[in-house]
Symmetry: C2
Subunit: 249 residues, 2 copies
DNA sequence: AAGTGGTCTAGACCACTCG
DNA sequence: GAGTGGTCTAGACCACTTG
């Protein structure tokens, strides 16, 4: 069952094993799984290792624990796809649409004040500005305008093929992996240029997004302004109660 | 420093201590904190206990760890308030506004099809429907329409004082604590009734929200339809990469 | 080679729930 | 009182980073 010679940690193997069991229906929603002691005995691992696996599944919302009672399978639909850090390409692929894009402009310039602030840059620092029309199955979905400080990827103008994914290029060519993005969304109505590019009526509802993306150490790498069609896009979130607190109930 | 007689767990005391240190500036953004061994030695606790505290702070985004190097303070602004499960009252208070509301209707009825589905009810089951105009500092902000199955709180019509918080009543009177809410937001333009209630022009941008809230065991307890003013409300999110995976780097 | 975090063990005591 | 999860210990070995 468990492979102790594998490079995959035991707790992760246990996690996957339990996930398989749950998906196969061995434990239905609301039902208790085996106790920590049982699992550790049957699998021949220490209870702490089992707990590490269970804790992770609890934080993912697959299980929940009740002191003195047991650990139970959540009833929430697991298949629902909530948003993580996703590029437009990834998000559309996940939804089953074919993403593409048209470059409107791609240049080196100075960002506006908000961009400079968000990227924590000095006033003179420059950024790549990539403005694209984003399409899903050939239908215009959004206008996206990315700002990336030049020092992260000095030769981006040459190395980036606009037909490919920007995030992929950043990851593969420069080792830039985004860990967190902060996002603000506003409801607005389409202005003249927006309605022309998105092929919707002037005054149609749209989302305005401002996103700032950070590396794991908290350094900002990208600042994005975008406009999404309100009739073909929706924001799906999952909100939870705070974590990191001592359990009280 | 640590109180071993306290009911507060040691790992939580350590967590708070580190948070205090970080906020006081003892460790700046990007700087390494003490090593796990150092902390455990200085505080007289085992390393596993220190790790439990650090893991929690890492998952909150306050710290990040690098194998072989150390544990570092993230550079992200800590003061920014991202959304957890929050009621309108809580959210507005957090933003510094005084929340209030006017009840438009409060009755027992059958929900529409979407509500029945979201709440996983049988077609004949009934819900409380509470429709309210929500105000911040006396200014209309949103129209909210809550649906709650009657069996959760049979005498809500008597026990709920519309001048108070619905969530507080649910928690205190019935022990109902929401753990997760799923939310979908669309951009739209105000219809006649909405613009009248919210005192905005017809055709002004608004958000349409559909929210379903769940208990810890995954049972749905509340289904809410709401319309927020687009000119006075914005959605702020923090998106992260997936969790629960074995570290690869 | 020395130091770091990642994983794991084999115990322990506690608070809690339930019959 | 028996069983559960929550907390904690004092070690251990490993992979990784850095000088």
């Amino acid at each position: 069952m468990l492979d102790r010679r594998s490079v995959v940690p035991l707790y992760y193997q246990i996690q996957q094993f339990l996930l398989d069991q749950i998906h196969s229906g061995a434990f239905g929603p609301g039902e208790a799984i085996l106790s920590e002691k049982e699992i550790s005995a049957r699998m021949g691992v220490s209870r702490m290792t089992v707990r590490q696996a269970l804790k992770s599944l609890c934080s993912q919302g697959v299980l929940y624990s009740q002191r003195g009672k047991g650990t139970f399978v959540s009833a929430t639909k697991l298949e629902k796809n909530f948003r993580n850090v996703l590029s437009f390409s990834e998000e559309m692929s996940k939804l089953g649409s074919r993403p593409s894009s048209k470059v409107i402009c791609f240049e080196v310039a100075q960002p506006d004040i908000k961009g400079t602030e968000a990227l924590k840059m000095k006033a003179a620092d420059q950024v790549f500005i990539l403005r694209r029309l984003r399409l899903a199955d050939g239908i215009p979905m959004a206008i996206e305008c990315s700002h990336i400080p030049v020092h992260f990827c000095p030769d981006l103008l040459e190395s980036f093929d606009p037909a490919t994914s920007l995030y992929e290029t950043l990851a593969k060519q420069y080792g830039i992996h985004i860990a967190v993005t902060e996002e603000e969304a506003e409801a607005a109505v389409a202005k003249a240029e927006e309605s022309r590019l998105l092929k919707i009526g002037k005054g149609s509802p749209v989302f305005h997004f401002v996103r700032t993306s950070y590396l794991r150490d908290g350094k900002p790498v990208e600042y994005v302004n975008s406009t999404y069609r309100g009739d073909r896009y929706r924001i799906v979130n999952r909100l939870t109660t705070e974590t990191g607190k001592a359990v009280s109930r």
